[in-house]
């Protein structure tokens, strides 16, 4: 992990450019910006979090590629999906028991906005309008990934049975 480059734009500007907040009004984006704790850089192959660890952070990927991995039967790891610039990484901070379900590893030099999930959760609890915006985005992301996972499970390119 590396600290933010001091010459880079303010965190609020970086956040405003991320697809996650597109459609939120200015005050909502400001509230989310207050939850951004830093910008983090992850070199290739750095593990961002591990399955079972406490989930406190929402990562908004600005650049780079991240693999979501699970241990494969018989050893090694299996990549179940990849996330890229513009994606949100991790929603386990939103729901109990607040534990990561997968390992996340940088596939290439990656930069992400680090949002304090606990703080954002509290903001969402007190400001339901903001809460709706956040949960709606997470739900949409989950629905997209669920659909993609179903297609993956169908093994559409496999042998016809």
């Amino acid at each position: 992990m590396a600290a933010q480059d001091p010459s880079s734009p303010p965190v609020a500007d970086l956040l405003a450019a991320h697809p996650f907040v597109v459609g939120m009004d200015e005050s909502q984006v400001r509230h989310v910006a207050e939850c951004v704790s830093r910008v983090e850089q992850f070199p290739t192959d750095q593990v961002i979090f591990r399955s079972g660890g406490v989930a406190r952070i929402l990562y908004l990927i600005r650049r780079g590629d991240v693999a979501l991995e699970v241990p494969a039967p018989g050893g090694g790891t299996r990549i179940v999906g990849t996330l890229h610039a513009g994606d949100a990484l991790g929603w386990s901070w939103l729901f109990p028991p607040y534990r990561w379900a997968f390992d996340a590893r940088a596939l290439s030099p990656t930069e992400a906005l680090v949002i304090d999930g606990e703080k954002l959760r509290q903001c969402a609890t007190t400001d339901h309008e903001l809460g709706y915006q956040v949960v709606w985005r997470v739900a949409r992301e989950m629905a997209d990934r669920l659909q993609a996972t179903r297609l993956q499970m169908l093994d559409v390119y496999g042998e016809r049975r």
Partner: protein, 444 residues
């Protein structure tokens, strides 16, 4: 460069120019052989070995000189060394073949590997000669190469005659009669998929990207297989076949020199003319890349006719990915946006993982005018179409290629009928405005 003529003229030269000599006896023109190799000792050996063969032998020590001489001399047979300083032999081979598909080229190298041989065959080489070779091996390879040249020129003459005579479906034998064609080359693309290079049938007038042939494994049966080669390569017919049943099992086990029955080409082509001036989005899933490859070749060969070109490829695993070297080549171009994603990968994979449809929401194209061409399993095509429509693309600019139990290829037997359409005759390329309702009819 070095040119010399050796021995007596060939008594039975294949290129029957019938130039009359001064004594009234017909003299066959000498067959021209070009050898491109950076090692002088190899060139000297080649000249010495063929000195008594009655050929015109020309040599070049690098690829650029070789190409220049090839353009100047129109040789019958070219030997190309793979590893040379400057222009690599594979590049020379490709340029030779793209300039004149009738040129017979044989690759020679001291770095003989199976993968290199396969690569050479893919790029149109007739054969592969590992160094060091004996004089007999070189003479035999020359003989076979020139024999092949005779066949190629004869086919070219047949084609020209057929063109002059007008359309000849099924080479005059009727559309249901398979024409025997020889397998010129075979290589494995993946563990269950094989590509065959076939000698085109007499009278073959080429194909349009998106069309298919009916391939007949004699004694086993027939299967509709899309044509997967470059439409500009008239010298051979490429098919990529996945083993999914008895017929394809038999087709994929054919070896060089075996004979297969060919009927075709059948079916509607991809709308490449309509796509001119527009963004083009190609979405391929699994073996679906095979029927799209001719279209990709044509798009890239005429790149200035199109706006953005996006190629989105999905495969089950990295071991299932078709044409990986070619994909790498396409990806290396600055005027193409190519993305590959796998359904499943191990920890060593550095690319994307996820279904191919996940590439569509972020792809940069103008949905208001773009044309999309999609091939893969039907369920993949449905989901890909849903994403493209969600981006705002009109169903009338979205095209898919269907595969529904095609048996006759000409809309006669009805096996592939879906509603009022025969997939083989009215497709297999359909606009999505038509295909959407056809997708709702389940396969039997």
């Amino acid at each position: 460069m070095c040119t010399e003529s050796g021995g007596d003229p060939a008594p039975l030269g294949p290129d029957a120019g019938n130039a009359a000599g001064g004594n009234g006896v017909e003299v066959q023109p000498r067959q021209k052989i070009l050898v491109i190799d950076d090692e002088e000792v190899v060139l000297d050996s080649c000249r010495a070995i063929l000195a008594d063969g009655g050929y015109d032998i020309t040599t070049a020590t690098d690829g650029d000189e070789g190409l220049r001489l090839a353009a100047e001399l129109s040789p019958d047979l070219v030997f190309v060394d793979v590893k040379m300083p400057g222009l690599p032999g594979m590049e020379v081979l490709e340029r030779l073949r793209s300039t004149d598909p009738t040129i017979v080229a044989i690759v020679i190298t001291g770095y003989a590997t199976v993968s290199l041989a396969v690569e050479a065959m893919k790029r149109g080489a007739f054969d592969f000669l590992p160094k060091p070779f004996t004089p007999d091996e070189f003479r035999e390879m020359t003989r076979r190469g020139l024999e092949r040249r005779t066949e190629v020129l004869a086919q070219a003459r047949d084609r020209a005659a057929a063109e002059a005579a007008g359309p000849v479906p099924g080479a005059g034998a009727g559309p249901m009669a398979p024409v025997p064609c020889r397998v010129l080359g075979r290589w494995e693309e993946t563990y269950d998929t094989v590509s065959l290079a076939l000698d085109p049938p007499p009278g073959w007038q080429g194909f349009r990207p998106g069309q298919f042939n009916m391939l007949y494994a004699f004694g086993i049966g027939e299967s509709a297989i899309s044509i997967s080669g470059d439409p500009a390569d008239g010298g051979r017919l490429l098919h990529t076949i996945r083993k999914v049943g008895k017929v394809t099992e038999s087709l994929t086990s054919l070896q060089r020199g075996d004979v297969v029955g060919v009927r075709g080409p059948f079916g509607t082509p991809w709308p490449l003319g309509y796509a001119a001036g527009r963004d083009v989005v190609v979405v391929a899933g699994g073996i679906g890349l095979a029927p799209l490859r001719p279209a990709i070749h044509e798009l890239l060969a005429n790149r200035d006719r199109y706006n953005r070109v996006l190629i989105l490829i999905g495969a089950r695993t990295s071991a299932d990915l078709l044409y990986p070297e070619e994909i790498q080549e396409w990806r290396g171009r600055f005027d193409v946006d190519l993305q590959v994603t796998l359904d499943s990968a191990t920890g060593g994979w550095r690319g994307r993982v996820g279904v191919v449809t996940t590439l569509i929401p972020r792809a940069e194209f103008d949905a208001d005018q773009a044309v999309a061409m999609v091939v893969g399993p039907e369920i993949m095509m449905r989901f890909a179409a849903a994403e493209l429509l969600h981006r705002g693309m009109s169903p009338s600019r979205l095209f898919v290629s269907m595969e529904r139990n095609m048996k006759c290829g000409i809309g006669l037997c009805g096996h592939c009928q879906v509603g009022s359409k025969f997939v083989c005759r009215d497709g297999a390329v359909f606009g999505y405005d038509e295909a959407e309702t056809m997708f709702q009819v389940r396969e039997v």
